[in-house]
Symmetry: C2
Subunit: 369 residues, 2 copies
């Protein structure tokens, strides 16, 4: 039973050695008789003993645990408050990197709790933390950072002293819009943003403007509509845009979910995509390739965001004093059909048949500063 777990003392005694020897045997067994080691390991296995993690951590000053902090993984009731779907991908990447070095991954959502509560429930339990944008405000972030090494995600622009990993939102959107402008000759584009002050939405709108300006076209000061990053928000945004007197040729959305909402409204109004109005998204969520027409969008390397964040953290733990690193990962345009491109002629042999597409990387390559 798990009620009375063995300790290192009992293993040592049963094996006729000291606790020090048992400890050595468990941690690689450098500089000890191969035979002794084998014997110790055998009795340990036999007794079903594993070192107590807490005691080990206390003595060695290392928990072997890395933490990831989100704003809200899941609100429980209101899906609108949930973190975006791509976080799952990030998690998977982080888990892989963490397991890869033999550590374990701790995950927690802030759910509006203060930095102090969090520190109490998480910071004390991990060797380091990865903080997602929106998860904590500035003050709380500072506080946390004073108790445990941290890496931030999505705060590339900031002057904060922490290591950071971000995605090239701006370049990715610019790249996509340039495709609309250059390949399809579109001129009258509307932009549907996410919640007003979110960095992602802001950066993507900036990329939208970049492309227009580079093409010598007039660039709007603000998005045509706010879709709050949700499908229903996208629907409302589309209604408002279509109601205006402006003859729009394309609706560029700051994420895929809003694009799905926009599509639904167009269909309901008997407007064809892309013939009448092109639609694009951002994120490349799994549903986007199953829409008809399939959604042209921008793919973010979320898996890599997760794994690189962990790498940065591990590096920081190894060299606490090394200068700050900030890396920006390139995005990739995923050209499907909602922009007006035709289905690629032949089925690529390796890929699933429903995934014919073309890809273009954002000009920005992974960067360290």
């Amino acid at each position: 039973m798990a009620s009375a777990r063995a300790t290192i003392y009992q293993v040592a005694q049963r094996c006729g050695v000291s606790t020090a020897t048992v400890s050595r045997a468990m941690s690689g067994g450098a500089g000890m008789s191969v035979d002794t080691r084998r014997r110790v390991l055998a009795t340990a296995a036999e007794m079903g003993w594993v070192p107590n993690g807490s005691a080990k951590a206390l003595a060695s000053n290392r928990t072997g645990i890395l933490g990831v902090l989100f704003h809200d993984l899941d609100s429980g009731n209101d899906p609108l408050l949930d973190s975006p779907l791509y976080l799952d991908q990030v998690l998977r990447g982080a888990e892989q990197a963490t397991t890869g070095v033999g550590d374990a991954l701790l995950i927690a959502a802030t759910r509006g709790r203060s930095g102090r509560d969090l520190a109490y429930s998480v910071a004390g339990k991990a060797d380091g933390l990865v903080l997602f944008a929106r998860s904590l405000n500035r003050a709380d972030t500072q506080a946390l950072a004073s108790m445990v090494p941290i890496v931030t995600v999505g705060r590339a622009g900031s002057r904060w002293p922490h290591d950071d990993i971000s995605v090239d939102n701006r370049g990715g959107m610019r790249n996509l819009v340039e495709h609309l402008l250059e390949q399809h000759g579109l001129r009258r584009l509307a932009f549907v943003s996410g919640p007003p002050r979110t960095p992602d939405s802001i950066a993507r709108f900036a990329g939208f403007r970049d492309a227009l300006i580079a093409a010598g076209l007039p660039a709007p000061d603000k998005p045509d509509a706010d879709g709050g990053f949700t499908e229903s928000g996208g629907e409302q945004a589309a209604e408002s845009i279509l109601t205006g007197d402006r003859q729009v040729q394309a609706i560029v959305c700051a994420n895929d979910e809003m694009a799905i909402g926009v599509r639904a409204v167009l269909a309901a109004r008997r407007l064809r995509t892309p013939a009448d109005i092109a639609v694009t998204g951002f994120d490349d969520i799994s549903a986007s390739r199953h829409l008809s027409p399939s959604l042209t969008t921008v793919h973010q390397p979320m898996h890599e965001v997760g794994s690189r964040a962990i790498s940065l953290l591990l590096q920081r733990l190894r060299e606490p004093t090394k200068p700050r690193t900030s890396v920006v990962l390139a995005t990739e345009s995923v050209i499907r059909r909602s922009c007006g491109c035709r289905r690629p002629p032949a089925r690529p042999p390796e890929r699933s048949m429903s995934d014919g597409l073309r890809r273009t990387r954002s000009s920005r390559t992974p960067t360290e500063q």
Copy 2:
């Protein structure tokens, strides 16, 4: 800096009290002067101190950490080996339940490691573990269970002594197939299974047979094709089924991803869904409602699986000797259009416009044994 973290001694000294007082203040402050408590908390905050989790855990014999163990959250290279998408939902549910009681959630994938390695890297760090089906074989599960309390997921049938939470795969599939039989009068159904020996696939095929037998129809001994739970596997399965001489009216798939593959093949062969051949899935992944026609499938309460698993674990920790609990959660048929049903006439006011559907629960209600 995080390099030299304060200890309880320093806080105590600075505040002019004993370490016991500081400890009390941090843990609720029962039976102590309100003023003293305030003072302690203030200095602690000022010094940026939080109790060291390892020391705390060692002394109190409680880590405040719950773990979840998967087979493979993400294989890194081969998506075919990844855990199904719905695991993300489960994780979100588990995270919510865990955070709700102030604990933290540890996640790890077995990735083929032995039970011993895992125990070493995870079991020693948590108060209890949730084990997913496929994550560990019988012997390793036993070994783990002897070092830490565990709850299993998806092993309802087994005679194991652990608490378990499962989903009614069999009843869900039976329910869906009955719909095909009774509402659409279909008679010649083909079944596409997942990997041969997976419990989920087996249970779903059993449900398929249940429905046929109950309707007095001949029931096959084995699935018509194996689609390995993947989209491309579904494509191959469809090819093989369509190549046969049997005139099939519906292709029932053991999960959504295979159904997507099947659909693609039908479309490529100019076969209409559902007019020529109906298609159904299982899982209700997010993409399924965006297909055209939208996919009729079975919804699993994955979020609840996660949260209930944690609840069971917490209960077990509270009462280590109470008898085993095994709960089975009901599934729900999600009737969309790929089965032949028409789009519901009016748009439901509350829901997103692209989600018109009907729902039926599997007859099995949440059950405790």
